[in-house]
């Protein structure tokens, strides 16, 4: 992780000097994580792709404002969070996709009902709880980094996450048992 942070810092320095290839390397390193984060928030691949493009464009344009190059990840996800919520505000509630993308996504070798149960359980969380789960479980951010991304105290983050996990634990217990059979 430290080695990775140094590498990111080097690419950021190159980008700041006008080397666009340095930024393209950063993009290739982070695009999958950003895209999947946005996909888990929006549930729409096309929207997530467009948002990802906007996220990296804003990151490129504002890279000189990043004070600590070692915090590129949380800073990038902060931009992604803002872009996603800005899109949510613009989008009318009734235009939600009829079929959730994740309902078609199952891991190979895993019982389909477990995947569907996970997706359904995540959908029943509040957006704030779901985002906390995504950032922690799927993206592996530390609480301090999550607080930076979501701009709220660590205590709030922990409250959202642990409440969500209690709900998920209850919801997934039967499906987990079936998936494990």
């Amino acid at each position: 992780m430290i080695f990775r942070a140094v590498e990111d810092a080097d690419l950021i320095a190159r980008t700041r000097k006008g080397d666009i290839e340095g930024f393209n390397l950063l993009v290739s390193r982070w695009e999958k994580r950003v895209f999947n984060y946005l996909l888990r928030l929006t549930g729409d691949p096309d929207d997530s792709m467009d948002l990802s493009q906007d996220v990296f464009l804003k990151a490129y344009q504002n890279i000189r404002k990043l004070d600590d190059a070692g915090r590129f990840g949380p800073w990038l996800f902060r931009i992604a969070h803002n872009e996603a919520y800005s899109a949510f505000r613009k989008k009318r509630p009734e235009t939600a996709p009829e079929e959730n993308f994740f309902e078609r996504q199952t891991a190979p070798g895993i019982a389909i009902d477990l995947s569907l149960a996970v997706r359904g359980a995540l959908d029943r969380l509040s957006p704030e709880q779901r985002e906390a789960v995504v950032l922690k479980v799927y993206e592996g951010f530390k609480f301090e980094e999550m607080a930076e991304i979501l701009e709220c105290p660590v205590s709030t983050i922990k409250s959202r996450l642990y409440t969500a996990l209690d709900l998920l634990k209850t919801e997934l217990a039967p499906a987990n048992a079936r998936g494990g059979r």
Binding site: T15, R16, G18, I20, F23, N24, V27, S28, E31, K32, R33, F35, N36, L39, R40, P45, M49, S52, Q53, F56, L57, Y60, Q61, N62, I63, R64, K65, F102, Q105, T106, A107, I110, L114, S115, A117, V118, R119, L122, V133, K136, V137, Y138, K142, F143, K158, S159, L161, Y162, T163, L165, D166, L168, K169, T170, L172, A173, A175, N176, G179
Partner: protein, 195 residues
């Protein structure tokens, strides 16, 4: 926040912090010792790990198409006003203006007497310049008038010459007609005399 399944010892949040590797080494070691003897906390840790494992059955998706940037002025990162100015084409203009200003200041401070002479000379020759301009204008007007008169005269001469030529041609034609008629009447008179 806690549910009925949570440990009775009240360390549910610590178990979760432990599960997510958010404890400092000392607390982590302390929790490991606690969970070795607390069945509730150990069970809670197992449930938590089972839940997160279940969540991870949703795989990461590959990005549908690559995101890449090309060098484009519009997309370039924002920079300070000085850096933006220094990297722009305005830098050359600014440098040229500075050199010009420095030259003017130097000239005004070090060559003042010469400038005064030049200014004086310029002020006394203004009348001469005006007279020269007036004279040049008059000459140009006269020359234009002369040219016009010459051209008009040439045109009139040409018309007169053409008129004279026409007159001569007409006179010749009349003479020829008169001669022809005279000849014809003589022939008629001769024929009548013969009869």
């Amino acid at each position: 926040m806690s549910t009925n399944d949570n440990p009775a010892c009240g360390r549910a949040d610590l178990v979760r912090d432990y599960a997510f590797d958010e404890l400092v080494p000392a607390d982590r070691h302390s929790m490991e010792k606690h969970m070795a003897s607390c069945v509730d906390c150990a069970t809670e840790l197992d449930r938590l790990r089972l839940t997160t494992a279940a969540l991870r059955v949703l795989p990461d998706v590959e990005v549908p198409r690559r995101i890449a940037f090309v060098s484009d002025k519009v997309l370039e990162p924002t920079q300070s006003w000085w850096a933006a100015f220094w990297n722009s084409g305005a830098r050359l203009g600014f440098a040229a203006a500075c050199v010009l200003s420095a030259g003017l200041i130097f000239a005004s401070t070090h060559r003042q007497p010469e400038v005064r002479t030049i200014v004086q000379t310029a002020s006394t020759s203004q009348a001469q310049i005006d007279a020269a301009v007036t004279r040049a204008v008059s000459e140009a007007v006269e020359k234009t008038h002369a040219d016009d008169a010459r051209l008009t005269q040439a045109a009139l001469d040409a018309v007169d010459a053409k008129y004279d030529t026409k007159q001569r041609e007409l006179l010749v034609a009349l003479q020829q007609s008169y001669a022809f008629m005279q000849k014809q009447s003589q022939m008629t008179a001769k024929a009548a005399y013969a009869q």
